[in-house]
């Protein structure tokens, strides 16, 4: 299949470069930028005049809910939602049922994902057996089966001794460890950020310490063991500052934040809106601003959707009893573009392309000769209203329902194939 994307604004998030040019694709890779290779005859031409053309988005936290939670979503529905959001590669946490702690499960998942043939799936393996936080999972075998990193999902490791050993073992083989920094006992205290809103609404609070204590411990253990540490979904401003200081001392650590936490705060809970019941909880306005600043100065490597489809029954409950999480795949691009700051279009996309690719140890995504043609074509100026009923994802739970967002995906290509937009 030969395709030409004609006269789009080609974005290079790695350098911030932007130029209007034709993009020629053959056999799943970029065959020419500007001038077509000799004798190139496209079977398909996409008119991208007035549109932007970017490397496909890479999302570091997508719950596919399969296996085990098919009542909420499936690989088919969620990978279709991913490409509808311009996302061509997703990393998925191991917290399915059963958790991804056996090579056979990983192989089954990657086989299923390949058969669906939409966004590429990079599975994270369970760091401990059954995610129970006690015994190590077979990390080397899981890596051989395709796991790009190891995680405890949203859980913590049982105790410091186990954590230390797990990170030492992972470091032996240079296997990346992705941790959601959470102190288990402090997390259990509540359901909303411990602050003014939780106080007013009488919701049990989760102190910022529930995260910062864990960040501090993980940074120290990572330094001690030399493990490649990635911190997932920071929500507290002070956590970002701790990462900044660790980097300044020369420690190799990466981190991401969720698109929801860049725009929302505890205030958005309003009158007990369960779509704002997230984990980690939405924090204060000051925290939110610190996360945005962390993305702007590069301390935060990636913005992820933290996609967590929850069915309606799980949200039509009193706030404390509702399932946490939001559907994020189809709003990630807009929320990334709409964050405050004066970066240009290409640079704004770095935390959903170059940054997450670096965390995943993938080549720098760019539209250059020979690159894999994973591509997002979008209208940067189109406004659209978020109507959850129209989501491709089976998760209709979003705090942004009714919002007007800017930036709409028109086409998405994976391996040169148009998988969305026809």
């Amino acid at each position: 299949m030969r395709t030409t994307i004609r006269q789009g604004l080609l974005l290079d998030p790695a350098t911030g470069g932007e130029q209007v040019a034709d993009l020629h694709i053959a056999d799943g890779i970029v065959a020419g930028v500007g001038t077509a290779p000799t004798g190139f005859a496209p079977e398909r031409v996409i008119d991208a005049a007035g549109l932007a053309v970017s490397p496909g988005l890479v999302d570091l936290a997508v719950r596919l809910r399969e296996p085990g939670f098919e009542h909420r979503a499936s690989l088919d529905s969620e990978l279709a939602a991913a490409v509808a959001g311009g996302i061509t590669a997703v990393a998925c946490p191991p917290d399915m049922d059963p958790p991804l702690d056996e090579p056979g499960l990983v192989e089954m998942l990657t086989r299923r994902a390949a058969a669906v043939g939409l966004a590429r799936v990079h599975p994270l393996g369970a760091l401990t057996q059954g995610l129970a936080g006690e015994k190590l999972a077979g990390l080397v075998e899981l890596a051989r089966a395709g796991c790009v990193g190891f995680s405890q999902g949203d859980g913590a490791v049982g105790d410091s001794a186990t954590l230390l050993r797990a990170l030492k073992y992972a470091a032996t083989f240079d296997l990346p460890v992705w941790m959601s920094p959470r102190d288990a006992s402090l997390m259990r205290l509540g359901v909303a950020h411990e602050g003014e809103v939780a106080t007013r609404l009488g919701l049990p609070g989760v102190p910022a310490l529930a995260e910062t204590l864990a960040v501090s411990a993980l940074l120290l253990i990572a330094r001690e063991t030399g493990v490649a540490l990635h911190l997932c979904r920071l929500s507290v401003g002070e956590s970002v500052e701790m990462v900044r200081q660790a980097r300044a001392r020369g420690q190799a650590v990466t981190c991401d934040v969720s698109s929801h936490h860049l725009h929302l705060s505890e205030m958005d809970i309003g009158y007990f809106d369960t779509n704002c019941r997230l984990s980690p909880p939405l924090r204060s306005l000051r925290d939110r601003d610190a996360l945005v600043a962390g993305v702007a100065d590069g301390t935060v490597d990636a913005i992820c959707s933290d996609h967590s489809p929850v069915n309606e029954d799980g949200k039509e409950l009193p706030f404390s009893e509702a399932d946490p999480g939001a559907s994020g795949l189809e709003t990630l691009l807009s929320l990334t573009l709409m964050r405050s700051g004066d970066a240009g279009l290409a640079a704004k996309l770095a935390p959903v392309t170059v940054g997450p690719a670096r965390v995943l140890r993938l080549p720098v995504p760019r539209l250059e000769l020979g690159a894999v043609a994973d591509i997002c074509v979008f209208d940067p100026d189109a406004w659209w209203r978020v109507q959850p009923a129209d989501f491709v994802s089976r998760g209709r739970n979003t705090p942004f329902a009714g919002y007007e967002l800017r930036g709409r995906v028109r086409y998405c290509l994976v391996g040169g194939r148009v998988v969305h937009g026809d």
């Binding site: 411990e194 106080t199 919701l203 007990f272 809106d273 409950l317 009193p318 706030f319 404390s320």
Partner: protein, 317 residues
């Protein structure tokens, strides 16, 4: 963002879910209406026909005797039919969801739901899903709100003090877990009380509580000095021995209201308690039964206040 679900398009009260956000005039109207009902409760035939033919459902997802009884009496004095459902022990344990329970009861043509639930915000969920002609009254949700208790407390204060604008009021005890304290704070501040104090150990104070417009004291003696009203909070049994407090005895020695401590307040200060009291834990019997205690009148006024709320919601206030 959702809009305030307890007010109708013209600012009229559709549900009573929280005191927070209610205009001062609405509060005054409830208190004035309650005053007219106090005389009803003193008559020989204690009934008015304002809710004749209406059905009030008491939906108690959490056990309560006192609050449920006062709502029942209030509804009956307005001539309503009352149905009491202790759901803590029936359908919920059979796995029925909260909204299914409510949908079933709505189909029985309820006019008003009085809801008590252990989760903060549960009455909001119900109010969002009932038919527009059904009114919801929050009878206590989690740690969030107990608006009729807050109203009867300010009614009691107005009865004894006449005016709010010169008062210093202290709320003492477990503010963290108290829906009563939150409703009291909102009611007092809306009505113009210039100084609201909260007194208790740090483990029983919610984060950033000062943002609600209160002064925080951790020393009981300092906090009580010169106050006009002392509002005690109940200390739940399960909080007494654990990580929040070492023992009931130590609590009484540091925060219990004794005659000696009450002497630090103004000589005409009144003492209130939402009940049920733990004598010897948060309050000394000599104070609870003393001349400054208005704890029993609170109960009487509570019925009139609940009658007023129901009558106003039904459009007859």
């Amino acid at each position: 963002m959702q809009s305030n679900p307890q007010l109708g398009p013209n600012g009229e009260l559709r549900h009573l879910l929280s005191i927070e956000g209610l205009p001062r005039d609405v509060l005054r109207h409830i208190l004035d209406t309650a005053a007219s009902f106090v005389s009803v409760t003193e008559r020989e035939i204690k009934k008015v026909p304002l809710l004749r033919g209406k059905s009030v459902f008491n939906l108690f997802f959490e056990p309560s005797t006192r609050t449920r009884t006062t709502f029942e009496i209030a509804a009956k004095r307005l001539s309503a039919d009352v149905v009491n459902l202790n759901i803590a022990t029936s359908s919920q344990t059979k796995g029925e969801t909260l909204l299914d329970t409510v949908a079933n009861l709505s189909a029985m043509h309820a006019d008003m739901f009085v809801v008590r639930h252990a989760s903060s915000g549960a009455p909001y969920l119900i109010a969002r899903h009932v038919a527009p002609e059904i009114h919801v009254i929050n009878a206590g949700d989690g740690r969030h709100a107990h608006p009729t208790q807050g109203l009867l407390d300010v009614y009691t204060i107005r009865h004894y003090k006449g005016d709010f604008t010169g008062l210093t009021v202290a709320i003492v005890g477990d503010v963290l877990h108290s829906r009563v304290a939150r409703s009291e704070i909102h009611a007092l501040s809306i009505l113009g009380v210039p100084e609201i104090r909260v007194i208790g150990p740090r483990t029983l104070m919610p984060a950033e509580v000062e943002r609600l417009g209160v002064r925080v004291f951790h020393n009981m003696e300092e906090g009580l000095r010169g106050v006009d009203v002392v509002m005690m909070l109940r200390l739940q049994n399960e909080r007494m021995n654990g990580a929040l407090l070492p023992s009931a005895g130590e609590y009484f020695r540091t925060y219990g209201l004794t005659p000696q401590r009450l002497a630090l307040a103004r000589p005409d200060a009144i003492v209130m308690h939402p009940g049920p009291m733990n004598r010897g834990v948060e309050i000394d019997s000599a104070v609870a039964d003393g001349a400054q205690s208005v704890i029993l009148p609170q109960v009487t006024f509570g019925i009139a206040v609940r009658m007023a709320v129901m009558a106003i919601l039904a459009g007859n206030g």
